[in-house]
Amino acid sequence: MSNRQTLENTAEHGFALETDDRMPAHEGMTRMIWRRFRHHPGAVAGSVVLGLLVLSIALVSFSPYDPEASDVPSRLQSPSLEHPFGTDPLGRDLLTRVLYGGRISLAVGLMVVAITLVIGVPVGAVAGYFGGWVDNILMRITDAALSLPALLVLILLSAILRETELPLVQRNSVLTIALVIGLLSWMTVARLVRAAFLTIREKEFVIAAYCIGASNLRIMVRHILPNAVGPIIVESTLEVAWAIMEESGLSFLGFGIQPPTPSWGNLLSNAQAHLTKHPWLAIFPGLMIFLAIIAINYIGDGLRDALDPFKVLKQVGEV
């Protein structure tokens, strides 16, 4: 690998990659991606932290404490062996609540990404593949959505939905919040997918597929999309982090997930009143948000390096 390329890696990602030049010629794509990911120190550390987080969130069902039942005699205890994160104003174990909150926050993150993909990929694919007036209309809609002041509209929507009783989106449930955030964040994916489709549709293999009579849908789904999957994965990963941050922010403002259901944001919000006397109530939930987001960001960074299709092609000798 040339010096110039190392420089580029670093310019883009802030990290020098330990790239292995003695790569066997017959190495498969998946193995190669995995090897590159493994050699990114931040990504490995991020995976470990996130793995531990997910594990403890999964195991919290075995916690001896109930996340919602109050136990007033043991209220506002400092962190101890019995309650590692202390207890809240209603005597509930903070560690248990923080981990249950993690469930909510991660669930919101994943659901937002799902919504983002469901809207963004088709919009971007159709716009990029067909071009012309279809592209024009779809991209103007995307631009309009991007011109909305996101946080302000987010607050507005969740303030409205907070008092709405609809069959699916009841009182800012996890689904409601995920929907609201997702509806305001599909635009990046749409643009990304459009850009990828614009370039890939000109490639010979697409023309070949067209010539043997493949339908538009088949070309889009079977021939173009798999080649655009790298950037989509990277963007989705970073989107999880972003969604967690947005959800915590909304819940912090009181517009998000409503107590007694714990989420990292509303735990922080409730901690405000006790900030000076019982700081641990604020420190731990925030620390969890921070850990989760930094871990996901590092994973995204590692994935970006490992999946960069141009770099992969270069190593396979295609370009």
Binding site: F15, V153, P279
Partner: protein, 363 residues
Amino acid sequence: MGRYIARRLLQAIPMLFLISIVLFALINLAPGGPLAGHSRSRHIRPERAEMLKRQFGLDQPYFLNWSELTRLKPIGFLTRTQYSVWLIGNDWMKVDADGDGIREEHGERWGILRGDFGFSFQTRQPALERIVEHLPNTVYLMGVTLIVVAIIAIPVGVISAVKQYSVFDIIVTTLSFMGQAIPEFWLGLILILVFYAWLDNPFTGEPLLPSGGMSTLGIEFSLWDWIKHLILPVAMGAVGWVAWYSRFLRSGMLDVLHMDYIRTARAKGLRERVVLYRHALKNAIIPLLTIFALDLPYIFAGSLYVELLFSWPGMGRLYYQAAVKRDYPVLMAVLTIGAGIMIFSNLLADIAYGLVDPRVRYD
């Protein structure tokens, strides 16, 4: 260039129109309506509620007035609606102010196209006046924050690019990852905890830094007092920005540093500082300018979390309170102006890019 700008401005008009319709629809989706948050007691007498509704024009349909259409009045179909009154006003047509079914006098609203954003439900001031009251505080806070961000991020970005892989660079890169991951609202809580609750001024025994407000109430103006009130909010707002901008500048610098003209500048025997800050930085900062122009709307909207946490009487807090109190005219005003600024700064970003980089051509 002129034609390009004109075309973009023309494109902005239908887009703003579309956005305003969507926002108007969203706001009015809320069950209960604005009166739910308007009166101090939620139980107002029905006849008074009727009167208030008429007074604010809330008895009209939102977008299309079907009853006008059945009376074969196609203009009234479009104009005797809440959205139309908001957009173009009703001072040019007779309205039924007292609810007796007879339209006897002209309306009083001018519509936003003539600068009338309606009256705040909360204070009965014009909505625009409330914005004008709050805007300077936000611009002041965000202006100082941005200056601090520039002062820190530019040298940090340049140095970590030049000393790539040095200890400094590794620390900066790690810190910038952390800075981007730290939730702003949590950072604010921690700052208050440390500098207000834990640390005391060793001479007076008071908290080291104040926990909110723009200045101490009831004392004479003192510069030091104002600065003290700025430190924590600015720190809270700046961390994320510094992290993001310095990382961005670093990668920009790395792209530029191996260019031929940098080698030429060095070969000419220019001092390293001139090479870096005059020749390299000028080119590396171009992409940052775009990012900055896209961040401009924040100077208008302010950072909601900073303003709420430090009770800063700015736009973010105004919006939050309007959302809680359902002050529709204020919400609509902030959102519309915000979207306008957003579109305008997108355009500005594209123009700025062309101005500083002559290689970019517009068609």
